[in-house]
Structure formats: C-alpha cells, structure tokens
C-alpha cells in the first residue's frame, strides 16, 4: 500500500529560481533565503520519498487565458520545464508517475472532484523552484531524485477553489494514495505564498502576523484555516497571497495529528514573504527509516526553528 508520509509547504518565488540559476546564492540577500532550506534538504535526503505530489500553480506558462482549469492533474510520463520568457530554467525534465497519477485521477473523480487530466504539460517556476529548495540544485542533464505527480491549481483567476474545497481534495488524494497497491512512500508539497501582492498600487504588501498564524494553525489546527473566506486572504495577505489555499490541499492529505519537524520564515524574497514548513505523519511507512533518527532530527529542527524565530 502506498502512503503519504509527510507534507512540505514552500513558497515558489520566481526570483529564487533566478538567483539559483544565475549563481547568486552566496550573496547575503539570497543566502538568507537559501540557508533556511539547508536543513530541509538534509531531511529530504534522509526521507527519500519514492514519489512527490506537488501542488502548485501555473503563471501564464502552460495555461494562458484560453483554458483555466481549476484542478489539473499531470498524468504524463514527463513534464518539460516551460520557457517563461528567458528560455526554460536549466533544470532536468521532471519525470512523472503516470500509474499513480491516473490512479489518483480515477479515485478522486469518483469522489466527486472533477479534475482536468493533462497528458501533456510544461511546468514553470511554480513547481521547479520548490523542487530546487527541497532537492537542491540539480544539473540540467542530471535527474531529480524522484518522480512527481503535478497538481496545478487555478489561483490566477478569481475565484480559486475555496480553502475548504482544497482541504477536502487533499483528503480525497490521501484516500487515493492509500488505495494504490504498490508500497510507495509519498511526500506531498503545497506551494506558493505566503503573504504578497505583486499587482496594483498596493503591491509590496506583507503581513507577517497573518503568515505566522497560518503556519501555526496549519500545523496544529487546520480546521481554523479551511473556512477563511477569499476576501480575507486578499485583504490581509495580498491579492496574490490567495495562493495559500494550495497549502490546504497538502494539509488535507496528511493525518489530523502531525509533527511539525521544521519551519522557516523570512521577508522578503523579491516581493514575497517566504514561508516553509515540514509536517510528518506520526505513523510512518514501514522500513527504510529508524524512528530514533526521526526524533533526533525533530530535536535538531526545533533548535533551528528557535534560531530562526529569534
């Protein structure tokens, strides 16, 4: 049986990708951002998921305004990086997991989530930036460490799906994964956010208090988040901050009780508050990991979090 073992939340700011691609990671401005993900990359190397489900949004790359699917699941064998106007990012083609993806599609559609199926799709920074932050820099001719099932969510045209709908889709994805016959250890990513507005005279809005509340509740009491109306996201966390609903798909796919093993928050990266969290399900998949290692890491992560907060 396949299992979702952990969830990762991460911003997907395009400038982070540009900083990585243009060798700026050692500049103090960017080092502040990238150093927050060192621990996460270590966690990812040890966790070694078999598959990652990545919830993200497209930014006028694969989808223009010709087609605006609310939920689009990538069932292809591979997803090439999109040319976002400066040539495709120098990252490897993302390999899919068509068998798991089509299993998820079948299961969640019968659970009344009417997904769009994409058998051909390019992926932009919305997906590849969080992959870099968690998997590290990977040479264009190399390989990402695991295959990916992409789930693109419309958060560009209002209204995006509600937070509650996203959370319930996460639930349906969890059920779908758990009914997949192969033993796969799956990590699910929710990406985007946190607070930011990049359009209009109010651009530059950041609301750290909102962001902290969001992260706290994501970890401990996600039911508080699922009923936040869109107007509150837009008013408080910026017109584009509404991307945060995608994190609720990730959270819905986890168990009710999770361990927060790591958190990082910094302002700004370009125009955006960078938020990151790692949540582990308590009952982990069999084998591969020693429980004691998990405890040690949690302790280490807590120390790191304190440092970040102070």
């Amino acid at each position: 049986m396949a299992r979702i073992i952990a969830g990762v939340g991460s911003s997907h700011v395009p400038a982070i990708g540009a900083a990585l691609d243009n060798g700026k990671t050692e500049e103090p401005y960017w080092k502040r951002v990238f150093s927050g993900f060192e621990k996460s990359q270590e966690w990812m190397r040890e966790t070694k998921p078999d598959v990652a489900i990545i919830v993200y949004n497209d930014h006028a790359s694969a989808f223009s305004v010709d087609l605006i699917p609310t939920f689009a699941l990538g069932c292809a064998a591979e997803f090439p990086p999109a040319d976002e106007g400066w040539g495709p990012r120098p990252v490897p083609v993302v390999k899919g997991h068509p068998a798991l993806a089509s299993h998820i599609a079948q299961s969640v559609i019968l659970d009344e989530f009417d997904l769009t199926i994409c058998n051909k799709m390019e992926v932009d920074h919305g997906m590849t930036v969080p992959m870099n932050l968690l998997f590290g820099k990977v040479d264009k001719n190399g390989h990402w460490p695991c295959p990916v099932v992409p789930l693109a969510v419309n958060v560009v045209m209002y209204p995006p799906p509600t937070g509650h709908r996203c959370y319930m889709l996460g639930r349906a994805i969890k059920k779908a994964v758990e009914s997949y016959p192969d033993d796969l250890r799956v990590v699910i990513f929710g990406t985007g956010g946190l607070s930011h507005q990049i359009s209009g005279p109010r651009a530059g809005l950041i609301n750290s208090k909102w962001d902290k509340n969001f992260l706290d509740n994501l970890s401990k009491d996600p039911q508080k988040l699922v009923k936040i109306p869109h107007i509150d996201y837009m008013r408080e966390a910026g017109a584009e901050g509404i991307e945060m609903v995608m994190w609720l798909i990730m959270r819905g796919a986890l168990d009710d009780k999770v361990d927060e093993v790591y958190r990082f928050y910094t302002v700004p990266a370009s125009n955006t508050a960078v938020g990151h969290i790692i949540l582990e399900n308590r009952a982990k998949a069999s084998g591969k990991r020693k429980p004691s290692a998990g405890k040690l890491k949690r302790a280490a992560a807590r120390i790191k979090v304190e440092r970040v907060r102070s």
Binding site: V65, M157, P159, R171, R202, I206, R235
Partner: protein, 162 residues
C-alpha cells in the same frame, strides 16, 4: 454593462482578476502571452500599434498598453502574470514594474520590501473596514469551523435551528 460590484472592490489599490476582467482582458492577456516568442517581441517592438491590431483590444486597452500604464491594464482586464511579460519585453525587472504600479522609485520600493514590506495597517479597506480578519485577531469563531468528519451531525443541527 457596468461592472458588477464585488466585496473585494473595497480593497484599496487592488484590481482583482476575476471572471469578468478575464473576459474583458482576453485580448490584452493573449497579446502579452504572444511576447513569449522572440519573433513576436521583435515585431511588436518594430511597430507597436500595428502589432496590437492582431489582437482584439478596445481603444482604451490599446492606449494603456502603448502608454505602459500598468494599473490601467489591470483595471481593464490584464493580469499581472501576463502584463509582466510586456515589462520583460521592455527589459524591466519585476521590481521595476512593482515600483511603477505603486508610484515609487525602484530604490524606494526595494527599501520598503527590505524593511518588511507594505504594512496591512491602513491598507485593508477603502471604506474603513480596518479591523483585522477574525482569523488573525484571535481565530475563526467556533461555529464557523467546518468539521468534515461530523458533517451529517452539523447539517441536522442547522436544520433544527431553521
């Protein structure tokens, strides 16, 4: 037909790209999308007004594009992820566009971001709704919280109340 009033029109300095703007702005956004190709960027740069005739823009939209009035483009249905491609075609960074939209210099805008960004205080509402959302000021009221597991029960409760 005049634009239908929406609750989010109350947010200052913000043009929410909704279904209505998406319909009105189809031409602007598809024009911007065309700038992903180098040959199109060249054709646009060679004769902007002529190139824009390939897309069904209103005279107001055409004027906003030619004048690089980014806020007006958003108001007339442009979306920021699309209009940013026009900025890139002009060789501008995104932060430059953000500064232009906010009416500040790029340096001032960058400094504001480094200091933690634009505060939400005083920037929530055009009509004085400046109280923080319930979620930030102390959590969402209990009765509003959905409990997916207990759905049938919740339903029967609300039925009783009616």
């Amino acid at each position: 037909m005049a634009r239908e009033q929406q609750d989010y029109d109350d947010i200052p300095g913000t043009f929410v790209f909704d279904a209505e703007r998406s319909r009105e702005g189809y031409g602007i956004n598809m024009f911007c999308m065309s700038l992903m190709k180098d040959e199109n960027r060249r054709a646009f740069k060679a004769n902007e007004a002529e190139y824009l005739k390939r897309f069904k823009l209103t005279p107001e939209q055409t004027e906003a594009v030619l004048k690089r009035d980014y806020n007006r483009m958003l108001e007339l249905g442009g979306n920021i992820y699309f209009t940013a491609k026009l900025g890139a075609t002009d060789g501008h960074s995104f932060q430059h566009l953000a500064a232009v939209m906010t009416g500040s210099t790029q340096q001032d805008y960058a400094d504001m971001m480094l200091k933690g960004g634009r505060s939400v205080e005083g920037n929530r509402s055009r009509t004085g709704k400046n109280k923080p959302a319930k979620f930030v000021s102390g959590g969402v009221a209990k009765k509003l919280v959905a409990k997916p597991k207990a759905k049938p029960k919740a339903k029967s409760k609300s039925a009783k109340r009616k």
